[in-house]
Symmetry: C2
Subunit: 329 residues, 2 copies
């Protein structure tokens, strides 16, 4: 910077003003400085900037994995929104999905160059009680029940499950069977609960849910069980991958979809419309979730008044070829 100042024949403060876009620099001076910067290949040092300003213009994202559609899509949206606001994103992986792992990530947080964090963790491990956030660290949580302590952004899981279940009932099915996600997942719990409540509200029998773990394989296992039951004509799987597994099980048993059995998924992953048959599923707007996370976080950082509590992003049912009225109706 001093070199640039010397070459341009100004003080280093003027160089600083040019590089931060300060208004009170006369155009001719500005051009000189810019030329000098160009010639010397000057790049502002972000560490020094951060040190002086007391902020990093960076947000952290704490997560277990990028392997799930939801997480990677959410991160992508966070990325885009943050870039637009002039913030960079640092990813903070949780080494092990245990309470200790999470604590470790939060501890490291203090030394990381971030102004705030988005926590994407759908499991119960995030026991808000014993999390110690570094002071001045803002946080937004995705998909959790930490709403009491932290602002939460989440998909409206319950409404999605309700729409899926109602859709199947409205087609005329006697009841709806359910392949659930793992018990330790908040999202899975809420989907299962809404499914149950919808059935109860309609005065239908509530069959025992099949427990899955989000994987297609677990859906396949559940499908094998359900396929043995001739009374099962409608299935709500808690995600698309499990729906995929369920459908494979029925195909292998020679049962047709949606002729013999209707299937609804959840997520609307990009491949869902290419499944055989194309999957009717609940669309989650991950992009919107990511956007609201960043907005909420920046609102906190900038000390703007925000709406605390839980921010629910709506879902919508996408009708495709895997659902139909039951045979003989």
């Amino acid at each position: 910077m001093a070199d640039v100042a010397r070459l341009a024949g100004v003080s280093s403060q003027t160089v600083s003003r040019v590089s931060t876009g300060h208004p009170s620099v006369v155009e001719s001076t500005r051009q000189q400085v810019l030329a000098a910067m160009q010639e010397l290949g000057y790049r502002p040092n972000s560490a020094a900037r951060a040190l002086k300003r007391g902020e990093f213009r960076t947000l952290g994202v704490i997560l277990f994995t990028l392997a799930t559609t939801g997480n990677s899509r959410t991160v992508e949206a966070i990325l885009a929104q943050a870039a637009q606001e002039g913030y960079a994103i640092t990813l903070i992986p949780v080494a092990m999905p245990t309470q200790d792992g999470v604590l470790g990530a939060f501890t490291r947080l203090g030394e990381l160059a971030v102004d705030g964090v988005v926590v994407i963790m759908e499991v119960h491990l995030l026991d808000a009680a014993n999390l110690e956030l570094p002071p001045n660290m803002q946080v937004v949580v995705v998909d959790s029940d930490a709403g009491e302590r932290y602002p939460v952004v989440d998909t409206d899981q319950a409404d999605g499950a309700r729409q899926a279940t109602r859709h199947l009932l409205e087609l005329g099915h006697e009841t709806v069977w359910h392949v659930s996600g793992p018990i330790e997942s908040f999202a899975a719990g809420r989907r299962t609960q809404a499914w149950r409540e919808t059935l109860e509200a309609a005065g239908k029998a509530v069959p025992p849910p099949q427990l899955g773990d989000w994987t297609a394989e677990s859906g396949y296992q559940a499908g094998l069980v359900l396929a043995r039951n001739p009374g099962c004509t409608a299935i709500f799987a808690a995600n698309d991958q499990m729906a995929l597994g369920v459908m494979r099980a029925f195909h292998e048993q020679g049962r047709s979809i949606p002729g013999d059995v209707s299937v609804v998924g959840f997520d609307d992953i990009p491949d869902a419309h290419a499944f055989f048959p194309p999957l009717t599923t609940v669309h989650q707007d991950f992009a919107e979730v990511g956007r609201r996370c960043v907005e909420g976080l920046l609102r906190q950082i900038r000390n703007e008044p925000g709406s605390p509590g839980t921010d629910l992003v709506p879902t919508r049912l996408v009708l495709r070829g895997s659902t139909a009225a039951p045979r003989g109706r």
Copy 2:
């Protein structure tokens, strides 16, 4: 830091030594300092540290999207490996997949707090010629042909395609049809080329490839075309999603897989074994790619002698239920 020093009754330099793990601090002093840190909730300021040390202990990853399996899995591996080496990861999205977008990302790089970057861009837009890297910026490129200028880590696309094609020929198929990825993709080009060369080497006819764009929908369209051709008994799709689309097209035409037609994919996405039927595919070791990226980058940063050029990660064919010998053989 000064407060900690005062409370512990030592100089700030000793606090620094404790916080960086310097050996020449006697145990009793160390304990005192640690206690003071604890009490005051001291966290080292990473900006000041970076300023002083001249390094950020952060790596950047430039990419277009996290939506593809390959990218998100690679990023995840980079994340894990970097964490293990004590480095954080900053994601740098390229706003628009154009030459300008890429240039913009590289320009911003200079102001970003990173010691090196991994560039994950499989398209030809990365025209190495006019990329201006900030001085002192190390780079590793994934999946590209920039091998002349930069170190490259890539999956052995050609060998994977070769294995897939050979497998189908060895089953006894007359020839192998191909659904390719988009022309602007390096990986797609290499897969198509290896498929062609393998057929030629075996003295088989080379049918015209169907052009896809990685999506299941494009695979479905290609599948509709191929399904009309009774001579087509073996298909190599350039990725699993397109294979999924191809299979749906055949299912809809009432053609059985693998009875009438064998299909091989590429990637081995987690759902591949849950497809109907489970998909024979070429497994890519994204985790290994990510690992080698970080290793290569750190080697450069630390000025260790490295192997320049292209580092190829092997692939392997995973046999599942979508391939069989042709009918009547």
